[in-house]
């Protein structure tokens, strides 16, 4: 297609219409593709030839205008609402009169259950690979929280269950309720906002509670942004979303998962009566233990003391006996005992006479007996 331009010297200038036509013709050569997004701002009027809506990327909020011939749109009977996820088959187009770029839809399909499941599975694999669901990431819940944050729909049975169970188990705890959307296209963003708001209120643990619902109803709880926000939440999060068989991804990212809202409440606060009872039992055990130790030490000390008291007397008796024994032996060894048996000691000039040849006849000797003694003269020697 030929686009006319006006030459001003060496400057080539296009009229707006010519420029738009040029770009439009270039765009029309691009291939027809499928684009996925959420429907917002759907505008349909009987007198318009086309239906318009904006396709929004749920991950980053990028927007794309879409137009579709009204007859074709009505023929699909999709009954679309804001927030519905769709696949649009079309090609880029420029609305020349306004210079507006948009996707010209040739066909439109609602994002079906199969697509949702496949997308969910892909997201689950991706987040699992990042380690968002890893057991090491799970934080222990506080034993007794000072303040519990509760995120729930307004007037929901889930809210009533959590509050009733918490009150029954542990009345003194303070519960801060954050009411928010729990289904629909705005739910994920609203829940994230509430999560952050509760964290600012200095809660020790957050319960995310929602009763059962359809697969689509629970989809916000698998929203990537919400799952990441739960994982990144500075306080532990208990997730109680849907029924046992539902496993929204926020359940996997939470620090603890409860099958029902009242189970979540049981995880979050201990049973006060039970705690007091356990404390009482522990205290009684403590006292018994202290008394037992005391008794044991007392008996041990008494035993040592008894033995200590006996010891000196024992020692004295033993010493006395040893002394007597020694005295006995001493006496047995004394020369006097020998004299008693009839022996005599003969001395000459003070020296003991042991042989006959040691004296001469006529020599004077001195004889000692057991009692007394006498002087004598030697008659003969042998």
């Amino acid at each position: 297609m030929k686009v006319e331009a006006i030459d001003y010297g060496d400057r080539r200038v296009y009229s707006v219409g010519a420029f738009n036509r040029g770009v439009a013709s270039w765009l029309s050569r691009l291939p027809t593709v499928w684009v996925e997004g959420e429907v917002t701002e759907l505008r349909r009027q009987a007198r318009w030839a086309s239906v318009f809506f904006t396709l929004k990327d749920p991950a980053d909020g990028a927007c794309l205008g879409v137009s579709m011939p009204r007859g074709q749109f009505d023929g699909l009977r999709l009954d679309l609402a804001d927030g519905d996820r769709v696949h649009v088959y079309g090609r880029p187009e420029l609305f020349e009169a306004r210079g507006e770029f948009r996707l010209r839809a040739l066909s439109l399909e609602r994002f079906g259950l199969g697509e949702h499941l496949a997308a969910l599975e892909r997201l689950k694999q991706k987040l699992a690979a990042e380690g968002l669901f890893a057991a090491e990431r799970k934080r222990p819940l506080p034993f007794i929280p000072r303040r519990v944050g509760l995120i729930t729909g307004n007037d929901a049975a889930a809210k009533r269950d959590v509050l009733a169970t918490i009150t029954a188990r542990f009345r003194p705890v303070n519960v801060l309720v954050g009411e928010t959307y729990v289904q629909g296209p705005r739910a994920a963003g609203a829940i994230i906002e509430t999560l952050r708001a509760l964290c600012r209120e200095d809660v020790d643990v957050i319960v995310l509670a929602r009763g059962g619902g359809s697969f689509e109803d629970l989809l916000p709880f698998s929203d990537e942004r919400l799952v990441r926000a739960v994982a990144a939440c500075p306080v532990p999060v208990v997730s109680a979303v849907g029924h046992e068989q539902d496993t929204p991804l926020c359940d996997l990212a939470a620090d603890a998962r409860a099958s029902t809202p009242s189970m979540a409440a049981r995880l979050v606060v201990p049973d006060l009566a039970e705690v007091l009872q356990r404390l009482d039992r522990a205290r009684a055990g403590l006292e018994r233990g202290a008394r037992r130790t005391l008794e044991r030490e007392r008996r041990r000390l008494d035993r040592a003391h008894e033995r200590l008291d006996r010891a000196p007397r024992l020692l004295l008796e033993r010493g006395r006996a040893r002394l007597e024994h020694a005295a006995g032996r001493l006496r047995a060894l004394s020369p006097h005992a020998t004299l008693e048996r009839g022996y005599a000691i003969v001395r000459s000039d003070g020296a003991i006479v042991r042989t006959g040849t040691a004296v001469e006849p006529g020599q004077k000797v001195d004889v000692e007996l057991a009692e007394g003694g006498f002087g004598a003269r030697v008659e003969e020697t042998r």
Partner: protein, 68 residues
Amino acid sequence: MSEQPTFEAAQKELEEIVHRLESGEAPLDEALKLWQRGEELYRLCKERLDAAEGKIEELASRAEAAKS
């Protein structure tokens, strides 16, 4: 031995003294000194146990009072 031995140290020393006296190894005047020391250690240990018992009673009655 320091001025204020722990209960365990005092008890251990007392038991060692008893053992030494009972073995009859110690000379008499040393044995008398050991006996004196032993009695001193016994008194010390007993005081500690009495104090501990008093403390237990006090804590127990305080816990009892807190309960009601």
